[in-house]
Amino acid sequence: MSVTTVERGPAAEPAAAASEPSYLTGENTVASWLLTRDHKRIALLFFASITFFFFIGGFAATLMRLNLATPEGLLQPAVYNRMFTMHGIIMVWFFLIPSIPTTFGNFFVPLMIGARDLAFPRVNLASWYVFNLSGLVVLFALVMGGADAGWTFYTPLSTSYANGYVFAAALAVFINGFSSIMTSLNFIVTIHRLRAPGMTWMRLPLFIWGIYAVSGVMLTATPVLAMDTFLLAVERFLGVGLFDPNHGGDPLLWQHMFWFYSHPAVYIMILPAMGVASEIIPCYARRPIFGYSGMTMALMAIAILSFFVWAHHMFVAGISIYSGVAFSLMTFFVAVPSAIKVFNWTVSLHKGSIIFDAPMLYALSFVLLFTLGGVTGLMLATLGIDVDVHGTYFVVAHFHYVMVGATVSAFFGALHYWWPKMTGRLYPEIWARFAAILTFVGFNLTFFPQFILGYLGMPRRSYTYSPEWQSWNLLSSAGASILAIAYILPLLYLGWSLLRGRKASANPWRATGLEWATRSPPPAHNFERTPVVALEPYCYDPERDTYVTQEGVPHAG
């Protein structure tokens, strides 16, 4: 395999300042990893866990697309129903929600604000153990046959009728929430208390703002999820009529409570991805981000407004017409800051000096796919159209554009962008660009046909469909096989780069953030001296091809 690794910075300096070994090589016993309190090692532990669940959830998706290639299908209905339920539960709670915060958030929040670690290192480690405990419970549910009520657990189907391991899955979600709460609490305290001297709020990199916004949402919304799943268990096991109308309960109460958590959870999945894009775009366009303060305000506005739009999942569920109208209006409001962000990212390319390396390709895919997911979200927010397309593949396509197209692209962008810092190795650029383009192509082939299927009226969560819809479904399944290759490819070449990749310098991308001021990979205590911040982030100058780090150190072209 002939591979070129590209480095945009000065050649790796000899490890002259290697007074302290890197966090990777310091101690190498199993216990030193499993009992570590180093945020960087915990980030890698989380990375291993969520990668495992990403492929489990992906396997379920593969079976689903395989089944839908023909109208008759391959799977038993019961198996198909369990597959889409487990796909939803695993992808939402065991990959998307923890993905960027627990890996890149854990690794880079302290590094980017100039801290030695997170505020509560032991809580951070406990969060990983709680996450894995919930993972064991969900694997138990899966191995025993899986839950079959959909990831939304709609009552009374989930409490009185479903016969899969619904409660085990709900218990896994309940436990998982505590991991989210611990991680988000840690981030909030760290960002408030442990910023390096000179790192004022308006000098924070936008990734930190994204993590801060998402932590606020996680900390306040996740307890509601714990209440929801607890009440679900109360109804299922004690027979108390909360959601079942036969016992005096109200099925819509469940939907209100569930979406009160799960709509903010959608923003939990996208806000960190927005932060990632805001780091990558200025670095590869070599110019400051357009409208930094507008970007921070938009992030916070999205975080706050996300709590007031939950019932837009219930427009056809029999809520009052007036609350339908109110929630539609709020949903249009939350779209405004999202639109501002899209325009700001796009204009951040104006008069730049753009380099099309893999992280940038992923970031540009993020913007495009997020925009398409966003405008179709506007359609769903429009009441008259939602009545038609609600519960169809249109909705499936819409949220996959936002949650998979946008968030997973940003995840891979972050993985490539920060790979040299995390591992000390450069990844092979040609392969990475190929994977980024393949992801974009495969993704659109998979999910764009689903918009058309939805408008034609194909209901979601169906193991079979009318034969006239086969060509679109076949196209979608073909796209999914391309997407699967595009997702497996990085596993191979990144693994290769760990062994054979060129050693990375401290700042291979000539970036301005504090995380690039320390060695690659960083020493266990991050910095040899506490950095002092002098400037706002993203001081790139495309005209002279120079940049100034946040510490105020100028670098020539």
Binding site: N81, Y154, P156, L157, S160, Y161, A162, P245, A285, R286, R287, F290, G291, G294, V316, A317, G318, I321, G324, V325, S328, F332, A335, V336, A339, I340, V342, F343, N344, T346, V347, L349, K351, G352, S353, I354, F356, V367, T371, L372, V375, L378, M379, A381, T382, L383, G384, I385, V387, D388, G391, T392, L456, G457, P459, S462, T464, Y465, S466, E543
Partner: protein
């Protein structure tokens, strides 16, 4: 009128025409946003690629007036879409009395349709063209969703209450009826068809069913069998609220509130009368929760509604 567009679904009701127009407008706005973003991105990516000769001098420094500009522009466009969509929603979800009524019982995994004349069918709904059809829906078990893509209408059928929706088909033909809410194992096969017939064909279809007892008459039998007539009948000595002419009126409750006596209200009163004590009447009625299936409940509702019609006819 949009059939020249590729992959356009059937349009077979007045409801669908209205939604089509909004959908086209929304596609236009979405397309405009996408084209703007893609065009800007492509232009900048080509013009300002690393090493190009384009000047990078005089970059925009003050950004806020741009941001205010596109905030106002997007907000304005969004508000137009919001108002348009909300107006349609209010129109779609306030079912008028209708020229015809049908009752639907959803259960895992079938649609049972009951016509006022007593005809019933499964997974098929025969309706006349160009008539406003009011659909009253109940669920026996879990949440289902009544969805006719060609009419662009959908409404969840939530157990524990009655939901209504309406449509006015304007095209003769057979259209898909689907369940759009996951309802368990065979959700995917909970499908039927809506047969839109011409007026004479519909009349012929009704008579061909060979039914002699209307839904209200079947309801009257339930009414007697469960002893309702003992108190609510004409010759009763018990002080119970009169039912004749009740449907569609406003009822004053003991707790001071006022309620519209629609189908859901009548159903609630039968199952849970203590929560719906009418002003001026003692709370004597036993509750019938668990004793009546959704089928019988709909028949009772149809009977009680018919009492109003007989009254006004006399």
């Amino acid at each position: 009128m949009y059939h020249w567009i590729p992959f356009w679904p059937d349009t077979a009701a007045v409801n669908a025409i209205v939604v089509n127009n909004l959908y086209i407008a929304e596609l236009g706005v979405s397309g405009l946003i996408m084209v703007t973003v893609v065009a800007m991105m492509l232009t900048f990516c080509i013009r300002y690629r690393k090493g190009s000769a384009a000047s990078r001098a005089d970059r925009v420094q003050k950004t806020w007036h741009f941001e205010i500009g596109w905030t106002i522009a997007t907000l304005g466009a969004f508000l137009v879409l919001f108002v348009w969509g909300a107006a349609i929603y209010i129109w779609l979800y306030q079912a008028p009395r209708g020229d015809e009524e049908v009752y639907v019982v959803a259960k895992r995994w079938m649609w049972k349709i009951e016509h006022p004349g007593g005809q019933s069918e499964i997974d098929a709904l025969h309706v006349p063209v160009n008539k406003t059809i009011r659909v009253v829906m109940a669920s026996e078990d879990v949440i289902h969703s009544f969805f006719v893509p060609a009419f662009r209408i959908k409404r969840d059928v939530v157990p524990g209450t009655l939901e209504t929706i309406w449509f006015k088909a304007d095209k003769i033909g057979v259209f898909k009826l689907e369940c759009a809410q996951f309802c368990g194992l065979q959700h995917a096969t909970m499908q039927g068809e809506v047969d839109v017939l011409s007026g004479p064909d519909y009349a012929r279809w009704l008579t061909e069913q060979g039914v002699h007892e209307s839904l209200a008459e079947q309801g009257e039998a339930v009414f007697r069998a469960h002893g309702c007539s003992g108190c609510h009948g004409n010759n009763s000595t018990v002080h119970a609220p009169p039912l004749a002419g009740l449907y569609g009126t406003y009822v004053h409750m003991q707790d001071g509130s006022v309620r519209l006596a629609d189908e859901a209200y009548i159903r609630d009163c039968i199952l849970n009368p203590r929560s719906f004590t009418v002003a001026g009447y003692p709370p004597l009625m036993p509750d019938f929760a668990g004793q009546l299936g959704e089928d019988d409940l709909l028949k009772l509702v149809a009977y009680i509604k018919s009492l109003g019609k007989q009254e006004s006819a006399q």
